[in-house]
């Protein structure tokens, strides 16, 4: 029971990661590799401020730092004309050094010595706080996507050429989307640091794929057709994935193998429609 509760709580933290990635992967139709860096930036910034006695300001600052990371990638992409994937990799790589600096050169810090309790310090209310956070962020995102600005962002990912020939500035939309996405990713990293009382500069490896896994599993379960269901699916999927992950650990998988498990899972899930089509064609040929 204890194990499952903890899995759900972690799942809710990663649900915020998935919601952030939903903006780039699903809405803007262009996966963003900044994530593996900005997730850690969120954790580091929040950890340092938590140690300085400002845990909640730490969460807000983590979000803001994530927005800056995303804007950096958007800048490389739009103003310097660097390919989206490479732009993300460049930011992520640069962030590794910055994250180390944020933590004063230490590869990891412990938050057990924090002077002020965080929102997640009380084990009895942890679940409620995380449910509230994931639910609220999902709801705000849903409302945002129904505003004029949100609609423009969605149109950008749906038909960039059409948006270019309307009076919407596509470059500004990239800043908005990447900024918002990485802000949420960093917030997820910040909550994880507070939850585990621990921040680690190497903790970002595999986060992009982890967030993706949540989105994809959610889609497999809920088959969303509208953006509202799509956002809910990302939350549900992230929690489900964490539960599966926990089961795998119980079955004896090593924690260090889990990145491989995530990658294989995402690869298989994405290729299922293609495999199904191939199978159908084969059956037709044989018939």
């Amino acid at each position: 029971m204890e194990v499952i509760l903890r899995a759900v709580e972690l799942g809710l933290i990663f649900a915020i990661l998935s919601l952030g990635e939903y903006i780039t992967v699903k809405v803007m139709d262009s996966p963003d590799l900044t994530v593996d860096g900005s997730f850690v930036t969120g954790g580091c910034v929040c950890a340092m401020l938590t140690l300085a006695g400002m845990p909640n300001i730490g969460l807000a600052a983590a979000f803001a730092a994530g927005v800056v990371c995303g804007c950096m990638t958007a800048f490389l992409e739009t103003k310097m004309k660097i390919q989206p994937l490479l732009a993300g990799i460049l930011t992520m790589t640069g962030l590794y050094s910055i994250n180390l600096r944020v933590m004063g050169g230490a590869p990891n810090v412990s938050l057990f010595a924090a002077p002020v309790p965080t929102l997640l310090s009380n084990p009895d209310t942890q679940l409620i706080v995380l449910l509230g956070a994931a639910g609220l962020i999902g709801l705000l995102l849903y409302l945002f996507f129904k505003t004029n600005l949100g609609l423009m962002l969605r149109a950008c990912g749906d038909n960039e050429n059409m948006v270019k020939s309307s009076s919407i500035n596509v470059d500004n939309m990239k800043f908005l989307g990447l900024g918002l996405s990485n802000g949420l990713v960093a917030l997820s990293g910040a909550l994880l640091a507070q939850f585990q009382n621990f921040a680690d500069v190497t903790g970002g490896t595999g986060m992009l794929v982890l967030g993706l896994a949540g989105i994809i599993i959610g889609e497999a379960v809920l088959r969303p057709k509208t953006i509202g269901v799509g956002l809910s699916a990302a939350v549900v999927g992230a929690v489900l994935y964490r539960l599966l992950y926990t089961v795998a650990l119980q079955l004896g998988f090593a924690a260090t193998d889990m990145n491989l498990v995530s990658a294989v899972l995402v690869a298989i899930t994405i290729s299922i429609p293609v495999l199904q089509r191939k199978m159908k064609e084969k059956r037709k040929k044989n018939a």
């Binding site: 004029n148 609609l151 059409m162 009076s167």
Partner: protein, 249 residues
């Protein structure tokens, strides 16, 4: 209204692939005119539109809209005043957004970025306007537009470009990808909307009959130049067989 002065466009300048797509074109379009444009493939018609919208850069010359030099304005800065429809219906609409969301994209933006894009009063307004198309689209506001037929999508795209009437509407073979029946229907709706909203419009077509039947001025493009410019009176006397000769210049 719209004026091009010695407009020239050269692609891949200085390479073996050099291609002059527009060659020293000067033309003046009057306010309220509905101009049809004919010309063989590669004559430079789409490039002419691209120069007006800012999608293609001028190698030389200038573009004026309402007396203002817009040569150096970016595409998204010009598009407040210029609407455009393409041959491929999927180019003018966002497939995963619903019909009402696509319409809102064109209509609601002036309310500010953080107001809800589709409000109750908008739905009524959209329904009223979609009824004018007589395609039953008023019942399908919540349908993702990618699920509609090409003709229906093009009709919505057309509606999008007139809900916030632009000063200038550019139609680039916008009925060419449709079946004959839908094409005629869209053409009639186009002509009606242009009249109702008093929009200045340019329409490229490959159908000589349509070019003669619709509009009140006719331009013929060939090899990057405007080789003929028929006024309303001249155009009324023209017949399809007169036009065929111009394709073999």
């Amino acid at each position: 209204m719209l004026e091009l002065k010695n407009a020239g466009v050269v692609f891949n300048e200085g390479t073996t692939l050099e291609k002059t797509a527009l060659n020293d074109v000067s033309v003046h379009i009057q306010p309220g005119e509905f101009v049809t444009i004919l010309g063989s493939n590669g004559a430079g018609k789409s490039t002419f539109f691209n120069v007006v919208t800012g999608a293609a850069k001028l190698s030389k010359g200038q573009v004026f809209l309402d007396g203002k030099d817009i040569t150096d304005l970016k595409e998204h800065q010009r598009s407040k005043n210029i609407g455009r429809l393409y041959q491929d219906p999927s180019q003018g609409t966002a497939p995963h957004l619903t019909v009402e969301e696509n319409l809102a994209l064109a209509y609601s933006r002036s309310r500010g970025p953080f107001s809800m894009a589709v409000q109750k009063s908008d739905q009524e307004f959209f329904k009223k306007n979609l009824k004018r198309l007589d395609m039953g689209l008023e019942e399908r506001l919540k349908t993702p537009i990618g699920l509609l037929s090409g003709g229906q999508r093009q009709a919505v795209a057309l509606m999008m470009s007139v809900l916030n009437p632009p000063k200038l509407l550019l139609l680039d073979e916008h009925t060419a990808a449709l079946d004959p029946k839908s094409a005629q229907m869209i053409l009639q709706i186009t002509s009606q909307l242009i009249k109702d909203e008093k929009i200045t419009a340019l329409m490229i077509t490959h159908n000589m009959k349509d070019a003669l039947e619709y509009g009140d001025r006719l331009l013929i493009f060939h090899d990057g130049k405007i080789v003929k410019d028929f006024s309303k009176e001249e155009k009324e006397k023209l017949q399809v067989k007169d036009l065929i000769d111009f394709y073999d210049i």
